[in-house]
């Protein structure tokens, strides 16, 4: 049985509930009003002042006695009125959106237009960062680029093969520490020193092996069990990085991982501190990974993954070696993550265990789901947007509250658009009803 994506028929449950009599306050209309008012109160609290440990109720008191409360409650009532009485408005809105949707369908059906669109986006991604500030470019590389790559890898594991992996960033860490090892920066010396470019395949292979080693014994576990085991795997990798001073440098981290460089006779180039160089490198990697994944998705392997995800028992009954294919998904995802680790380590030149906390494994998972599980463009967009969001919010909302808004966004998204921003076609029709 596929574990993660299993649906349980709920229609029966709902119908039975409907048979019961409802009192006035249980009617949807009044419930909606109550919910909106509660939302208004919550927003008031969320946008209040920062509290302090000295007077625990300071922030709450300030918010609930301010005029903002009434403004938000008023907005709630207004929204409710609009929902109850605004049928014509909604029809008009829907009509206004229709031509846009039609244009989209028109464009999507024409190959040349599609290809053109992709090229335009790619060109923009290549050239627009030239005009941006370096600080923005740092964010683009450190967070957007790296996390898009990670999300692409995780998408294979979770979106296609349906394996719930809560420890994905462990492979990112393995990649980073591989880079440190093969460039001779760890306390243990490698047999040969390698250029970071050469470390990429080596790190990918290392992660592949690590993925198989982890997956081999654990992939027969059911989804939630797999989740906790992968989470534990992350914790163990993190602790090894932190505690094995003689192997990984421990909490002090690893300093001085060299930059990328090309040295092929006439062609010579050295990556430097400039984030732009790394942005283009990452862009190249992402494009390469996307191309490979697209081949995979529509190959026998990709279809087998979907089969396993949808119903493992049925797939096994059809003669699919499910463990082998699951292992393959695990290993491919892990190696993508490893490549990202090498780039990151080399770009910053310094890594320490705190670069790979458990929180980030959870974040990457959220990015994948947010974008649309199983859909490559969705994952690209979702990861890009969400990774960038905290930095964009830095100037808009109080910096300390960034993750609060991110959390609220995730919940709202799951309630109103669970299939993600750009869902995979197969999922829109089947999975998320």
């Amino acid at each position: 049985m596929s574990t993660v994506l299993q649906d349980r028929p709920k229609t029966v449950v709902v119908d039975v509930a409907r048979l019961r009599r409802t009192r006035w306050h249980q009617q949807p209309r009044w419930r909606r009003l109550g919910a909106l008012l509660a939302l208004g109160a919550l927003l008031t609290v969320m946008t209040g002042e920062q509290g302090s440990g000295k007077d625990l109720l300071y922030s709450l008191r300030g918010s609930l006695t301010s005029g903002r409360l009434w403004a938000f409650l008023g907005l709630g009532v207004a929204a409710w009125l609009l929902a109850e009485l605004g049928a014509p408005v909604r029809t008009a809105l829907r009509r206004a959106v229709r031509p846009a949707a039609r244009a989209r369908t028109w464009a999507a059906e024409r190959r040349a237009v599609r290809l053109g669109g992709v090229l335009v986006v790619l060109a923009l991604l290549i050239f627009v960062p030239l005009t941006l500030s370096k600080a923005t470019n740092q964010v683009l590389v450190d967070w957007v680029g790296i996390y898009v790559l990670l999300a692409l890898g995780l998408n294979v594991v979770i979106g296609w093969a349906g394996l719930l992996d809560l420890g994905f960033v462990a492979f990112f860490a393995i990649g980073g520490y591989s880079a440190a090892f093969w460039t001779g920066r760890l306390p243990v010396q490698p047999p040969v020193h390698l250029n970071p470019f050469l470390v990429i395949p080596v790190a990918m292979a290392t992660c592949l092996v690590a993925g198989v080693l982890l997956g081999g014994p654990t992939l027969r576990l059911r989804g939630d069990y797999l989740a906790i085991v992968t989470l534990g795997f992350h914790e163990v990798i993190y602790l090894v990085a932190k505690n094995s001073d003689g192997l990984t440098g421990g909490s002090m981290g690893v300093f001085g991982i060299p930059h990328f460089s090309i040295d092929l006779g006439p062609i010579q180039y050295r990556w430097k501190l400039d984030p732009l160089d790394y942005w283009w490198l990452l862009l190249g990697l992402v494009v390469a990974v996307v191309l490979v994944l697209r081949r995979l998705e529509h190959s026998k392997v990709g279809r087998t993954w979907i089969a396993i995800r949808e119903d493992e028992v049925a797939a096994a009954a059809h003669g699919v070696d499910t463990v082998r294919y699951k292992l393959m998904a695990f290993a491919i995802g892990a190696s993508t993550s490893g490549a990202a680790g090498v780039v990151y380590a080399s770009k910053v030149g310094f890594i320490n265990p705190e670069n790979f906390p458990l929180l980030y494994s959870v974040l990457v998972l959220a990015y994948v789901i947010f974008g649309g599980m199983g859909s490559v463009p969705g994952v690209l967009l979702g990861a890009g947007l969400l990774a960038w969001l905290p930095h964009a919010l830095k100037d808009v909302v109080d910096q300390k509250d960034r993750f609060m808004y991110l959390g609220a966004l995730l919940v709202a998204m799951m309630i109103y658009r669970p299939q993600g921003l750009l869902p995979a076609r197969r999922r829109t029709s089947g999975g998320a009803k």
Binding site: K134, A135, D142, S251, G253, N355, K394
Partner: protein, 389 residues
Amino acid sequence: MLRKRLLQTAAPLVVGLLALTGCTKGDDQASADGKKLFKIAYEGPLTGENAALGAHMENGVKLAIQQANAKGDLPFTLQYVPGDDTGSADQAPAAAQKIIDDDAVIATIGPAFSAPTKAVGQLYSQANLLALTASASSPSLTTLGFTSFLRGIPNDNAQGGGMAVYYAKKLKAKKVFLVDDKTEYGVGLSAVAENDLKKAGVQVVRESVPQKTPDYTAVATEAKNSGADALIYAGFYADAAPFAKKLKEAGFDKPKIASDGTNDKKFVELAGGAAEGWLLTCPCVDPTVEPGIKKFTEDYKAAFKVDPGTYSAESYDATNLVIEQLKALGTGATRESLLAAVKKADYKGLTKRYHFDEKGEFPDKAAFLYQVENGKIVYKGDINVLAGS
């Protein structure tokens, strides 16, 4: 099918990127009153776990800038720029780059912590932008080849060494139980202490307890069972407090000493009676006790409604050092000329005399001892003097 989705991706991405482009703004080099504008940045944790520590330092920097502007004898106007690296290495490059990108920034006070310094030292060096830290104390920082990094504080060798000297000479301890919190700071500091203790012939039992451990009972028990006659904790107050409570419950009543990360009022508030008698070290002097800086404390309180905390005075000093040099250079100052001037500076601050060796290291070794007495952190004086060495 997939391509359709790709195309759908295009529209919002383009819009987003264009919006991003629109965001990059030009710098305004002149302030409202027509004088040239220089900005002084602070890089440290303004959010996250260590935000409280970061706020102490930020206020020190802010106060120095406010006072310099208010005096009215500067040929330029100063402005404060915050840079939040949350105290972690992965947030630091973006924060530092934002500071560096702003051409009006002439100097940075920070990075406040050691790990972020390692991640961004090269960025500052490349930009020739002075990064003068008032708190990052890992000894290795000045050996990594950063050309614009200066340290305005004795490094961990002074503090770790001070603890060792105090135990070895003053208390004549035979066996010390040494605990670090597994952060870069704690591990580095306890390594120094361990080394110096062993050199003095004292036996050391070392244990590492990661931050936010849910229960310190086990390690407190181990401390008691180890038979050690003194204890060192290298870490922050949020973890030192529960540890202190559990030590008391376990019945460990030997001398206990903790490092500057614990040297905070919050430690006493959190640990309550269990904090009583703890010794605390710091390469910093107490701004509320040390004579001669009473005025600073009063000004600080007036400006921020709170007492100055750990490293407030040091940050204030570092900022004033920069401002003094900047004043000498006048409106023609550049990042390069200021960096060169500060490297050679010899400045008498509130807390100590500031000067730097050729690596940017602070050459004087000093560590000060405090003790928790009746719920207050009381300043005792120079640890080496107290130990009688």
